[in-house]
Subunit: 147 residues, 2 copies
Amino acid sequence: MLSKKAKYAIKALIRLADHQGEPVRIADLARTEQIPPKFLELILLGLRNNGVLQSRKGKGGGYLLARDPAKIYLGQIVRMFDGPLAPVPCASQTAYVPCADCRNEAVCGVHLAMKEVRDATAKVLDGTSLASLRRKVDRVALLDHNR
Amino acid sequence: MLSKKAKYAIKALIRLADHQGEPVRIADLARTEQIPPKFLELILLGLRNNGVLQSRKGKGGGYLLARDPAKIYLGQIVRMFDGPLAPVPCASQTAYVPCADCRNEAVCGVHLAMKEVRDATAKVLDGTSLASLRRKVDRVALLDHNR
DNA sequence: ATTTACCCTATCTATCAGATAGAGTTAAAA
DNA sequence: TTTTAACTCTATCTGATAGATAGGGTAAAT
């Protein structure tokens, strides 16, 4: 399950990618994306402290992307809030932890199957940037509009 | 995250697939797979009530697969204990629920990306049966032994 | 009749997701 | 220089749920 934090983070980032260069206020973001403002505050702070966003204080301030949206991948965002992508720690690439109850991991069916799930998930999320996601949405929106 | 229930269920099912036709006692299964016995009892009961296992009471009793291991897919097991595979309800095929905070799902980036994750996960889990998983494990075990 | 083993419901506990509160700090603008 | 808009940070609350345990009930084989 994707946490609300990760979900809200992605929604906010997509929106910020539409305002490149322009700071956007927490309050505005919260309103347009239907996110509890104080909760969003926490999320954006996390993104900032992880180098994904930068902020400007004071009047006229707000948040903006810290780098090119083509270089911001969903994999990083999801891991930041929800931890490793793998369904079990022993199948994680970025945060491997062996199972206490596993005699031989190499021949463990759970390990084998979940590694495949992890790889499939990582392929999608580490292969999707804010920029590519935006392009996809635009493409769908066009089709949606033409029907 | 895969719950312990789903993980234990898969481990137990793999073991049961090795004993086709022969009932296996909860206590034996619990010992060999390092699972708390009473917890495993609950899990096996669930599998039975969902038609995956059958049971025999009394002396010489135990649990056994209710059907061909080639017809038991991990997707069913995981959904049974952990709910839909999709990271968000709006991306679920088997348990679709729209998001309250979503104006237009067709052009929602989160929806789009998570649908891809769901599809990738479902492809793996609905494509893996107990029988095919066992074959894979055997293949790996052979390699592991030959090194 | 007795033993073995599954059947079922209730309950406990710790953790955590989701959310809120409020005082503090910075920087731009008046 | 004062004001004010906005981000910064820590603490806390609450309800839900995962993981696990307890214990009496029921069926079948010997």
